[in-house]
Symmetry: C2
Subunit: 335 residues, 2 copies
Amino acid sequence: MPIVSLDRLQELATRALTRAGADFDMAAATARALVYADARGLASHGVSRIPQYAVHLSNGRADGNARPKVVAAKGGAALVDAGFGLAYPACALAVHESIRRARDFGVAFAGVTNSHHFGAAGYHLEAVGAAGLVGLAFGNSPAAISAAGGRRPIFGTNPIAAIFPRPKAASLLVDLSLSETARGKLMIAAKEGKPIPLGWALDKNGNPTTDPGAGLEGSMLALGGNKGAMLALVVELLVTALTGAAIGCEATSFFVDEGNRPRLGQAFLVIDPAALAGRAVYDERIEALVAAITEDPALRLPGERRDALANAAANEGVEIPAALHRQLTELAGEG
Amino acid sequence: MPIVSLDRLQELATRALTRAGADFDMAAATARALVYADARGLASHGVSRIPQYAVHLSNGRADGNARPKVVAAKGGAALVDAGFGLAYPACALAVHESIRRARDFGVAFAGVTNSHHFGAAGYHLEAVGAAGLVGLAFGNSPAAISAAGGRRPIFGTNPIAAIFPRPKAASLLVDLSLSETARGKLMIAAKEGKPIPLGWALDKNGNPTTDPGAGLEGSMLALGGNKGAMLALVVELLVTALTGAAIGCEATSFFVDEGNRPRLGQAFLVIDPAALAGRAVYDERIEALVAAITEDPALRLPGERRDALANAAANEGVEIPAALHRQLTELAGEG
């Protein structure tokens, strides 16, 4: 597999997206998020998405000239309309608003509507951690998980991410989807023609399957069964009822070319520790928890492994599958 | 088993708690929360807790004369100090603050520190739903769940609850712990001398067990494995780092008489739909989601079954195990 430096990958991705119809800001913001994911071993949320985004930009499922706008705001709350563009510029604006508002009002909640795939949820929180604030991110996706006891997918895989900055160390970063596994892993397995383990997905008739294609047409199993499905419902309502975005089952899959504008939703919660027990207490408490975990030397802190991968990738670049690399250079007009 | 009306149960519980040392407000607030749980089939969070609370009030693990206070506040954020009392008056104050502040600032986050067991997390959100607002509740508990990959319990079972009011129907109410099952169920099984299923708990050496007592001394398995443990970490930090409360592994178990003041933490997030996409959009979106779920007539909405139980209990009372009933009447001075 070709090894590509992160700078080169950023350039290639930006060029591919601008040629597909995204304006430069949208292309560069999107490329940054995708390269971030590839650098952290999250290939399913990395530049492997570009061919899909490029089709959506070309056929109108995503508007490459959209400009996100704050369309409602009050105190700590704000709503950003992504204008049917790719999600990244809108999420960046929502995060910017929520950081600013959390500083003024102690806590902020910014929603995003009329949006698209927002990639690795944790990416958006890096700016929150860098500002010394606590952040949570939520998003929905085209329907993947059924309601508790149901067969038909209604909710997305609905990631939850959280960042907790530490005084003199990298932030703790949690990022997980509420499906037993990420839908992107089924897409990768389908592309590579590999089977998936039982317990990841059901086919469209509600039967367990090892065929990733059948799983993508069916539904994903929720984390821990009914409890996971209930958490998926909570995330779904946070990002749709409060924002006006589409419910998972109203959005056409990302994994097909044709379909509607997905109109998905995202939301960011930001809290300033200084407004509650204060920074000194926060710092002491988080270090006490870290000490309790790392008492067992075998345990790793959330985000630690990905930070190490990112450091290595910054020096050595990342491996990109040859077929994808060819596709990207073609999309970038270098083919 | 004796059948007891809810009014009678409230009276009995209040009297038992005041005789154990709680002032009337604390006793009545606590009794209301416990009776609410019994009425909804949640016996493990109901009046079965009173003998334990009574011991804690008697031996000083809980202060029956504590008065909760708002000790820090800024915009939408507030911190309540429970003063080592039972949790219920402090949670009621935090919920009151968060409703008021969400109306003023769009979103509010109120933490509680120096607290105790807060029972059924969803109970506290009923006032949020009645105010037409969206609410989430979080809490920790004495250590029960290990960090991802660990053997020693660090985090509590760390419930997450959420309420979403509907325009012309009962609110949707989700309430779940992040352990594969509730710790209270192990306590009930231990009291009744019944085994528990494999997959609920590990013993203190990290081995699977069917003995509820061994499970209570060991650790609970998290919902869905490592992902559940990561969610437990997020809740743990929200309710401790932001509030100054004790981490689960710093608090002595509730299930023993002697021990420290648990100093646990809780937090409530309240969001006003009117501050984001607006009430009309919120109402339309939540009904669209409800319609998608109830298209399958076999599926029930979250909270629906418990609401039905509560309606029946209001008319017919609830069954209380004979031994517990005897204990309550004795504690109430009627024995």
